[in-house]
Amino acid sequence: MITSSNLTKTYNGVTVLNIDNLDIPKGQSFGLVGNNGAGKTTYFSLLLDLIQPTTGHIKNKNILVNESEDWKPFTSSFIDESFLIGYLTAEEYFYFIGELRGQNKSDVDALVLQFEDFFHDEILGKKKYLRDLSKGNQKKAGIVAALIGNPEVIILDEPFANLDPTTQIRLKEIIKNLAKKQGVTVLISSHDLMHVTDVCERIVVLEKGEIVKDLATSEATLKELEQHFAG
């Protein structure tokens, strides 16, 4: 589904990302871990064509992301708060995203209804603008918005950060469900090794922009990761 080849990103002579080859097949739940500055967000930004690769390219379903915009209809993402429109209510935001992705109001309502539980009664019908919600609730709205319109690829940067424990557990269910049952390719990054091993079938460890581990998740994975990061 997503192929990265010879991908590098250099800022003022410092290489922050250098991936020779990375193939993410369709329907995989893919986890990216690494310390600060490892290149996780850089990789996701390249994937979304928010920054320009220094060399190489990424293909999303055989579409070169930095040359065509045709990957946009089946790809959705939530990277940070700049993906939210602060002066809309959560509902309006969902409808707006829905309209962009060719969904009508009732489609969006039906989808959002499934996440009532996830929202914990703090988001819908509150008559509050997104900018007035807490960081955690903003994140919830952003994540659910990324699920609108049956995307084939979903990219979530640090989805567990800022969420309360209950929501973290619910989010894990949602992500697992997406990959396993619906064949969606899910890419997440996280600092929480436990969550990421719980959710992802495959985990790639980045260090200073390079892939140092590429693991198929098993019983032993968490231990291995913990050992790796303990140094």
Partner: protein, 491 residues
């Protein structure tokens, strides 16, 4: 302490990503400063002799005093539109041991160095020197000059308040309107009593203490105003207002651009800054009154008619349009990664501006009072706005990468000003072009030819809409990464 603040600010200035890009514009601004400064000195120098020659019976100082009120109002207006207010990121300063008062003193002190204060200085200093050379009493002139400088600083601080507080803004604005209206309808002319006051300042120099006290008082009011806002929930986080949702589904008939149009309407109605800008564009409608009520303009400076007509229907275009991608800067990454072709985004902005021009044109119907010719030129101007100015605006702003904080009203620490001089400079070509298009055929053929040329240029622009939009899209695509990077820069 001040040393620290200065170094922080210098770093912010040097390290912002739009600094490099703006260097050409900064040079232009610098030249403009030199130019206006030079003019001020020149006028200040010759003012005495000019007045003496034109009105030999009246003492030049009395003449200046009589009309000083207009200068003050003019200065206030120019400042309101152009003066950049000091901005400071106070959040990180709140928890470290710096006295709040010193931050505020610094902030207010900084405004004293504004170029606008120097205009008065450069104008009245040469004038005062000439007065002294001409043998006017030294004490009177010096204290009169001092009083004027105090008044300038008072305007400076008053402008600060006007910008930050809606109450003060409406109070001052209505006072000015009442004064102008009273004079216009010959009910009461404030010029004379006010002139007497200024003449009094000159003849009784010890009265200079009054402007000084006013200045100190305004400083104190500003100080208290900012002091009050020096809390997280005052200056930084905003009041949570309950949403009043409006049904905009009637806009769905606009097809694929409908979601953007609806979103833009919400953006404008729910955020302080765009609301302010749209309000301002409404006032552009009255611009024609300056021109069409004066026979001089119609008969002797007809090339200005094209110019005026652009303004009447183009207020929104000029004020809102020139900040186009910036309005969406807070969520630009979303727009760039969502299922939105760039082209559609630009087209929606185009429709929004066209819609605004049409609304303004309908609202301008009362100009029929000035005759069909005037109304026709407004119509031609509207066509030009729709067909060409929209594209010129979209093209010009592709270089605009200054992020906007949408909801910062009545906030003592950020800039709520809708205009800034850089954008005015970019806007110049938009105003000159219609003058040229109208004037050349007018000059060589007749009025109707100018009218037709102006209208036709707009129609041609509309025919080539797709071509223009494609070209503009390419420019935006090219700058996309830079724009994203600049917009994600936190102030």
């Amino acid at each position: 302490m001040i040393k620290h603040f200065l170094s922080l600010e210098w770093k912010q200035f040097r390290r912002s990503s739009y600094f490099q890009k703006g260097i050409a514009i900064k040079i232009l601004l610098f030249l403009a400063v030199l130019y206006f400064g030079g003019i001020a000195i020149f006028i200040g120098g010759i003012l005495f002799f000019g007045l003496k020659k034109t009105f030999p019976d009246i003492d030049p100082i009395v003449m200046v005093n009589n009309y000083l009120i207009y200068w003050i109002l003019f200065e206030l207006m120019i400042r309101f539109f152009m003066q950049q207010l000091p901005v400071m990121n106070i959040k990180p300063l709140m928890t470290i041991p710096i006295k709040r008062n010193s931050v505020i003193h610094y902030l207010l002190g900084k405004t004293a160095l504004s170029f606008f204060n120097f205009i008065s200085l450069l104008l009245f200093l040469p004038f005062s020197i000439v007065l002294i050379v001409k043998g006017y009493p030294l004490d009177n002139v010096i204290l009169w000059f001092f009083a004027l400088m105090c008044i300038t600083m008072s305007i400076n601080f008053l402008n600060f308040l006007i910008n930050k507080s809606n109450t003060v803004f409406y109070a001052i604005a209505s006072a000015v309107i009442v004064i102008v209206a009273l004079k216009y309808f010959n009910v009461f002319d404030i010029t004379e009593p006010v002139g007497n006051i200024f003449n009094g300042l000159y003849s009784h120099p010890y009265l200079a203490i009054i402007p000084m006290l006013i200045m100190i008082g305004l400083y104190k009011v500003n100080f208290d105003f900012i002091r009050k806002g020096f809390y997280l929930d005052g200056a930084i986080s905003k009041k949570v207002k309950e949403v009043n949702a409006t049904d905009l589904s009637w806009m769905d008939r606009f097809g694929s651009v409908a979601p953007f149009l609806k979103n833009d309407i919400k953006m404008i109605t729910r955020n302080a800054r765009p609301k302010q800008v749209v309000m301002m564009s409404f006032f552009f409608l009255f611009y024609g009154l300056f021109f069409f009520t004066q026979k001089v303009y119609i008969e002797e400076m007809p090339y200005l008619l094209g110019f005026a007509s652009i303004f009447i229907t183009g207020g929104f275009l000029l004020s809102f349009g020139q900040l186009v991608p910036s309005w969406d800067s807070e969520y630009y990454k979303l727009l760039m990664s969502q299922n939105i072709p760039y082209r559609q985004y630009l087209e929606s902005k185009w429709y929004l501006m066209v819609f605004a021009v049409i609304v303004a044109f309908i609202l301008s119907t009362p100009y029929l009072y000035f005759g069909v010719d005037i109304y026709l030129i407004i119509a031609a101007g509207a066509l030009f706005n729709i067909g060409l100015n929209t594209f010129i605006t979209l093209f010009g702003v592709s270089l605009n990468r200054v992020p906007i904080e949408l909801d910062t009203n009545a906030n003592a620490f950020s800039n709520t000003n809708g205009f800034n001089p850089t954008q005015l400079l970019i806007a110049l070509p938009k105003m000159v072009l219609p003058i040229i298009i109208f004037f050349i055929p007018y000059h060589f053929v007749n009025f109707n030819a100018g009218l037709i040329a102006l209208a036709l240029s707009g129609v041609i622009g509309m025919i080539f809409k797709n071509f223009f939009l494609n070209k503009i899209e390419q420019v935006y695509q090219k700058g996309k990464y830079k724009t994203i990077a600049a917009f994600s820069e936190k102030k």
